[in-house]
């Protein structure tokens, strides 16, 4: 699916609103200024996902995932390289962690951070379209990007919207990506809703 420039611009703006709220939430959690880059949006097929973003080629990624359903169905995920995830967890919990691996306590903290950020982004979408989205409980996923996708949806034709964002907290260069995987046919419903708002 190719987005028209107007659709892409509108989606960028909607995500920007959500990302702005998410940045404020993150700033309150970390008690520091959060600089969030303007999101870049790409719509790709699953088969091309790793080609589109170099960080997705890593074998180990630390991610938080929420499935949503309503006027459009899919999965929203916040994906971090492990080093960034640990820096963020340290900052929020005010603790230094010695090991480079994420334990269950740290994973729990990252899950709650991801939950808050993703809820702000999805919440902004629900509010803009005045349509309710239901979410499941956020969960932590470690491994390749492909692990975020439900086995039923794992076809090369699956359409994925990648929203590249970069968080900058206390000059720590914490980077993360928000990725939205739409179930088959759901991106079209989402774009239809965007068109309704535009018209």
């Amino acid at each position: 699916m190719i987005l028209t420039p107007d659709q892409e611009d509108a989606i960028k703006e909607f995500i920007n609103i959500g990302a702005g709220h998410a940045a404020r939430a993150l700033s309150e959690l970390t008690e520091s200024h959060v600089k969030l880059s303007i999101p870049a949006i790409k719509v790709v097929k699953l088969a091309d996902l790793q080609k589109e973003n170099e960080s997705f080629t890593q074998e180990i990624l630390s991610s938080v995932r929420i499935n949503f359903k309503g006027f459009t169905d899919g999965t929203a995920a916040l994906v971090f390289p492990p080093a960034s995830a640990l820096k963020l967890v340290s900052l929020v919990s005010d603790e230094e962690f010695g090991t480079p691996d994420m334990d269950s306590v740290q994973a729990g903290i990252l899950t709650e951070i991801g939950n808050i950020i993703l809820n702000h982004i999805l919440g902004a979408i629900g509010n803009i379209f005045q349509q309710h989205l239901e979410y499941n409980v956020a969960n932590y996923v470690e491994g390749e990007i492909i692990k975020l996708i439900e086995p039923d949806d794992s076809t090369p034709d699956l359409v994925i919207m990648i929203i590249d964002t970069q968080f900058n907290l206390k000059d720590l260069e914490i980077t993360g990506d928000v990725v939205i995987f739409f179930k088959l046919g759901s991106l079209a419903k989402f774009v239809e809703a965007v068109e309704n708002v535009l018209s």
Binding site: H21, A25, E28, L29, S93, V105, G108, I109, T111, E112, N115, I116, N119, H120, L122, G123, A124, G126, N127, Q130, Q131, H132, L133, Y135, N136, V137, A138
Partner: protein, 120 residues
């Protein structure tokens, strides 16, 4: 001493809440999902419930419904990351006394609890 039941599946959030109000003289009971929350509600008969929405086993709306079937008056404050206006509306319609978004500010939580206990 007023008793507050805190229901949240995130250990991090439960700790944040405990830290925020630990010096305010409340007795605090915690649960990690709605099902456990309702069991503790029946056992402890709290003066106020502070609950998350998205939780395993039984979510916050399910808990709110069960509580309202038992007790129409006990204040139930929803503390959730969900920023959708329609979610807030749904909670209010189901009898939530207040709705707060995460992350919360310590003073904001204290003020909501003070308001709840003043009304009582």
């Amino acid at each position: 001493m007023a008793k507050i039941l805190v229901v949240d599946d995130s250990n991090f959030q439960r700790n944040q809440i405990l830290r925020a109000i630990k010096d305010d003289g409340y007795e605090i009971v915690t649960a990690e999902n709605g099902k456990m929350g309702f069991d503790l509600f029946e056992e402890h008969n709290p003066d106020c419930v502070l609950t998350d929405l998205n939780m395993p086993e039984l979510d916050g709306l399910g808990l709110l419904q069960l509580i309202r079937e038992k007790d129409a008056n006990v204040p139930v404050i929803v503390l959730s990351s969900d920023t959708q206006e329609l979610t807030q509306e749904k909670c209010k319609n189901m009898g939530a006394s207040d709705f707060m978004n995460k992350p919360f500010k310590k003073d904001q939580l204290k003020a909501v609890l003070e308001k709840v206990f003043k009304k009582e």
